[in-house]
């Protein structure tokens, strides 16, 4: 890189903050800006004097930054191409003169310059279209006041109208150059103009026309909004002033505007499908479900267990000798007129003798007592040292006859 360019870019880089500040407002040294910094920026022509002791950014540098950052301040003018068109025409006139003079070098130089001008025009047009597009798509960014919006609408409508006029001039001038260049035998230049200028003009004109339509719509819309605001305020005042006013008598015989024909039908009951993922349907399902009565627990009827009476058939147990002996003893005791010694009776009964005497005694006593027969043990005499004896060696049973008799 050559020295002067490096120096210039170095100065801009060192004082980037100042350049940033100068993009918004002129720099005033009285606000504490170092004189050395201002001096350096002035040396590389980045700042221009503006009034007394203030400095503003070089317009081309400002334009470059806006272009690079796509920043479009309010009322930013579109790049004019009329000057470039005039330049293009002048260059072509000079080329014609040099052709007649047969000065090939000068013709080549002028031709290069003309091509460069064509590129400049294309760049400026592209930039203008981008700028308009951005402004319209963001509706002028932060401009919120309707009056400011209306003013900007008109500003850019005027700008785009001027640009459209310039495009018509450009088309005429470009066509003339392309035609004359071909006639002169400068086919390369003719082709260049056709490819890089004439073929683009139509699309630029269309884009500008579309933006003008948009701007017209915006202007109309802004006006409409203002009218609507006024009518809203009037209606509100009217409603407050006229509490008895209920409506208007209107003649509906003429054409009816669409909004008055707005209709509705009774709500359609949604057909709910289990796999319907629509949020409205889901909320409807939830709502419907919530209105249903609470689920009552299902009472399962208790099944009565059918019981079958089980009749057990007992085989008569075979009579044991003890059973036979006890039966006979009972019969004997109940019929005997007096007391019956159990041990004596044992001697007469062979079944009773199958048991030992002591076993028989306990068995017979228990059996007879169970049958409500009084049985009294015959105690063994008292021994020395014991006041009472708990031992017995026989028992005497008294049948009902004996008890009755004694009673």
């Amino acid at each position: 890189m050559s020295g002067p360019i490096k120096d210039a870019l170095g100065a801009l880089s060192r004082h980037a903050d100042l350049i940033n500040a100068a993009l918004d407002a002129p720099l005033d040294p009285r606000e504490g800006i170092p004189t050395k910094a201002l001096s350096e920026l002035r040396q590389v022509s980045a700042l221009r004097p503006a009034g007394d002791d203030t400095y503003r950014l070089h317009p081309k540098l400002r334009e470059y930054l806006y272009d690079h950052l796509q920043l479009y301040p309010a009322y930013q003018s579109l790049s004019q191409i009329s000057a470039d068109i005039n330049l293009m025409k002048s260059l072509w006139s000079a080329i014609e003169e040099m052709r007649y003079a047969a000065d090939a070098d000068a013709t080549a130089q002028l031709s290069d310059r003309l091509q460069s001008t064509v590129f400049d025009i294309a760049d400026n047009m592209q930039r203008n279209l981008t700028q308009l597009n951005n402004l319209l798509s963001t509706r002028y960014g932060n401009v919120r006041s309707i009056a400011a919006k209306r003013s900007q609408n008109r500003w850019y409508q005027q700008q785009s109208a001027n640009l459209l006029r310039d495009l018509a001039q450009l088309s005429a001038a470009g066509s003339a150059i392309e035609r004359d260049a071909a006639a002169f035998g400068m086919t390369e230049l003719s082709r260049f103009v056709r490819r890089n200028l004439l073929s683009l003009i139509l699309s630029w004109q269309q884009a500008l026309s579309e933006m003008q339509t948009l701007l017209s719509k915006e202007i109309f819309r802004t006006r409409e909004i203002e009218v609507q605001h006024r009518q809203l305020a009037r209606m509100d005042t009217w409603l407050r002033q006229q509490p008895g006013w209920m409506g208007v008598e209107v003649d509906i015989d003429a054409e009816v505007p669409d909004f008055l024909l707005a209709a509705h039908l009774p709500a359609i009951r949604a057909h709910i499908e289990p796999d319907d993922s629509d949020s409205d349907i889901r909320s409807l399902v939830v709502e419907t479900a919530s209105t249903l009565p609470a689920i009552r627990p299902v009472e399962v009827p208790v099944e009565l267990q059918r019981l079958k009476r089980k009749v057990s058939v007992h085989e008569p147990q075979p009579m044991t000798p003890a059973m036979r002996a006890s039966e006979r003893l009972y019969q004997y005791v109940t019929q005997a007129p007096g007391s019956v010694s159990l041990l004596d009776w044992r001697k007469s009964d062979p079944d009773a003798q199958t048991m030992r005497s002591n076993v028989w005694l306990i068995f017979a006593m228990t059996d007879l007592r169970n049958r409500q027969i009084s049985v009294v043990p015959v105690l063994v005499g008292e021994t020395k040292g014991k006041r009472r004896s708990h031992m017995f060696d026989d028992a005497v049973a008294s049948g009902p006859n004996r008890i009755w008799e004694s009673a």
Partner: protein, 225 residues
């Protein structure tokens, strides 16, 4: 399928705008969706209409028959019930926004912003606190609560949607164009709504006088028609 939901909303009388029903609006913005809706509505005797070139879609009567015209005529006689709550609330919001009113489709209204402006202006505050159009209000509630109820009323009527619950941000929906068109229509058909017929302050006697005038105008209109 979105077209089914879209048709149900249209039939229910909803205004399909990008703010309130973005998915359904997108369906109607496609050629296929719009054709399907138009054909279906046509088959049941209605048609698809829009409030303006970029406005909300809605279902309209296919033909303005005598019966429909008669119905509209009757509705216009009692149009106050349709206007009263929404006009008052929207105008209150508009007044709170000073020289930069934002009460059109897509505009955002923050409860806190309206409340802040109301605290600065006694007139606006009293207008809000004395508003009878909002139901379920209490005398002792704060202005923030009252404005929230105002916005909820707009939301319930389909003129706004809660866009940001945390910050209390409501977005005006495309249905508001219906209201503006209705007001414009009434203004065009009611000469007494001109500027010279309205005053900012009226006393009670004047109010009675104007009430009589309005009745006379209405009666005259009825006689003319």
């Amino acid at each position: 399928m979105r077209i089914a939901t879209t048709l149900k909303l249209l039939v229910a009388g909803e205004f399909i705008c990008p703010q309130r029903y973005p998915d359904e609006f997108d369906v109607l913005e496609t050629q296929d969706g719009r054709t399907a809706a138009e054909e279906w509505l046509q088959s049941i005797g209605y048609r698809l209409a829009r409030l303006h070139d970029e406005g909300a879609y809605f279902m309209a009567h296919a033909i303005a028959s005598t019966e429909v015209r008669s119905q509209i005529r009757e509705e216009m006689k009692t149009v106050r019930t349709k206007l009263q709550p929404v006009v008052t609330i929207l105008e209150t919001i508009r007044q709170s926004q000073g020289r930069e009113p934002r009460v059109h489709a897509g505009d955002m209204v923050y409860v806190s912003e309206v409340a802040e402006e109301a605290r600065k202006s006694a007139m606006l505050e009293s207008r809000i606190m004395e508003m009878r159009e909002v139901s379920g209000t209490r005398h002792d509630e704060s202005i923030l609560v009252r404005i929230t109820k105002m916005m909820e009323r707009l939301r319930d009527d389909g003129y706004a949607r809660l866009s940001n619950e945390t910050s209390g941000g409501y977005q005006i929906t495309g249905k508001v164009d219906y209201l503006y068109q209705l007001i414009a229509y009434i203004s065009a058909h009611a000469p007494h709504l001109g500027d010279d017929k309205l005053v900012d302050q009226i006393d009670q006697a004047d109010a009675q006088l104007r009430l009589d005038t309005a009745s006379a105008v209405t009666s005259a209109g009825a006689t003319d028609s």
